[in-house]
């Protein structure tokens, strides 16, 4: 976390990202309250008015009004709301007479906090890992390939002749996983290998970054890293000339 809050930085971050929809929505919300009981946080907190979706986006309006002149305590309050009281499920949008997309505005608020160095520790760590290793768990390319080969060996005992293709050009499906699978749950990969084998599907893993289909950077509005992650997968898909990418996450 950086120590000081820089108001111009906040404003300079928000202004260009405050698109026409956000401006309109901040302006036309009629405070009718129809979004209240559509929110599972509201319901789960005994209908606590503080959980009303339209109330949760007030920060964006306030920060802009104050021209970014807010203190760390305030941003901590914003953090608690946008991370712990909204998971951007968009259900409120389905019930809003104007179709106001609260989740998009929460996402922008998260991105602003991230620009000020405020984000959940786990996400920040994951983002560093994505940048360095291409996956959220910091699995190296060697370890990844080793894991697949180990899974293959294990499964070949049960299903003779089972192979797990890696970097197979022209395969039909590029199969991607959550990086937690090679790390903690290789049994998931085993089950999948079985299914593919029995089904006779033409699939492949890729050995280089792009095989992790989680995108945790998206959750703190880090669009740059978010894009990098998706681009990796696209690159691999193009190199291998697959028809489909299976995203299991």
């Amino acid at each position: 976390m950086s120590e000081e809050i820089k108001p111009d930085e906040i404003v300079n971050f928000l202004k260009p990202r405050l698109n026409a929809r956000f401006k309109m929505w901040l302006n036309i919300c009629a405070r009718c309250g129809l979004c209240a009981d559509t929110c599972h946080y509201y319901r789960a907190h005994g209908n606590d008015p503080k959980m009303i979706p339209s109330y949760k986006v007030r920060f964006l309006r306030e920060i802009l009004k104050k021209k970014g002149k807010v203190d760390r305590d305030y941003l901590q309050k914003v953090y608690d709301t946008v991370y712990h009281e909204c998971n951007m499920c968009r259900r409120c949008t389905l019930y809003c007479p104007f179709g106001i997309d609260i989740a998009l505005m929460i996402s922008l608020t998260r991105a602003m906090l991230f620009s000020q160095g405020i984000a959940p520790e786990g996400l920040v760590k994951a983002i560093d890992n994505y940048k360095a290793f291409g996956n959220q768990m910091a699995v190296t390319d060697e370890d990844w390939v080793d894991t697949i080969e180990w899974v293959e060996e294990e499964m070949a005992e049960e299903l003779v002749g089972l192979k797990i293709p890696i970097d197979k050009k022209g395969a039909k499906i590029l199969y991607t996983v959550n990086a937690r699978e090679p790390m903690f749950y290789p049994q998931d990969m085993m089950e999948v290998a079985k299914i593919f084998y029995v089904a006779g599907e033409d699939y492949t893993y890729c050995s280089k970054p792009g095989w992790d289909d989680t995108n945790l950077a998206m959750f703190c509005g880090d669009a740059k890293t978010s894009k990098l992650i998706v681009e990796n997968t696209f690159k691999r898909a193009e190199e291998l000339g697959v028809q489909q990418v299976a995203v299991t996450e």
Partner: protein, 221 residues
């Protein structure tokens, strides 16, 4: 009397101009900024989703009606009265006929207009009480929300007083009800482009934009 002439003439022109030009500017601003900053709308543009999204909510065929039938239906009635009474009231149409435009169209019966006004006022009062007494709505309401609800209801209240002479015996109010009625209407018109009341036009853009945002994933809202 001078002030009366001003309110009846120039101020009415100003109010209508601010209302019309202001609203169009709000819409134009959305279009201009969105072509630069909301490209996703245009990249995925689909009349089908725009149209369904607007129609489903202009008519009571949507999720909120099913979830909150009482409030939603009251909301619909509120808006129907709000639009119909001022435009199709015989008293207003005759003023248009006398005006330089000499426009004329068929009015609704005065008795219906009376009922619609009373229903509108009752709903407005309910909305106001709801805003004051519901802990939920009170928390999300700002001064503007109370103020604008009153601004919206005033032309109807004063209009009713005016046509029925309810307060004719009450000194100043009785003598100046026409003036107060015109002022309240003009105030509302002038405030529309600058406040949340602009949703009368931005509703369509907002629903369209979100209709596309969900539509591009194959889901109609």
């Amino acid at each position: 009397m001078d002030f009366y002439l001003f309110v009846e003439g120039p101020l009415l022109w100003i109010a209508f101009m601010v209302f019309i030009i202001g609203s169009l500017l709000r819409a134009a601003m959305f279009l201009v900024v969105s072509t630069k900053k909301d490209k996703i709308i245009y990249e995925n543009f689909s009349w089908k989703y725009v149209f369904t999204s607007i129609v489903n909510w202009l008519l009571p065929f949507n999720k909120s009606v099913a979830k909150n039938p009482v409030y939603s239906i009251l909301g619909y009635i509120f808006h129907i009265c709000l639009v119909i009474v001022p435009i199709w009231l015989a008293g207003h149409i005759s003023l248009w006929e006398e005006s330089r435009f000499e426009w004329s169209w068929t009015p609704i019966p005065d008795e219906l207009a009376d009922w619609m006004t009373l229903i509108f006022l009752a709903i407005a009062l309910f909305f106001l009480l709801r805003r004051i007494f519901s802990a939920d709505i009170r928390l999300i309401s700002g001064c503007a929300d109370y103020f604008l609800l009153i601004v919206t209801a005033l032309p109807f209240l004063t209009g009713y007083f005016l046509t029925h002479g309810t307060l004719d015996s009450v000194g100043f109010l009785g003598d100046n009800m026409t003036l107060i009625h015109m002022l309240s209407g003009e105030l509302m018109l002038i405030l529309i482009p600058f406040t949340k009341l602009s949703h009368f036009i931005l509703f369509f853009f907002s629903r369209g934009a979100s209709g596309i945002e969900f539509g591009r994933r194959g889901y109609s809202i």
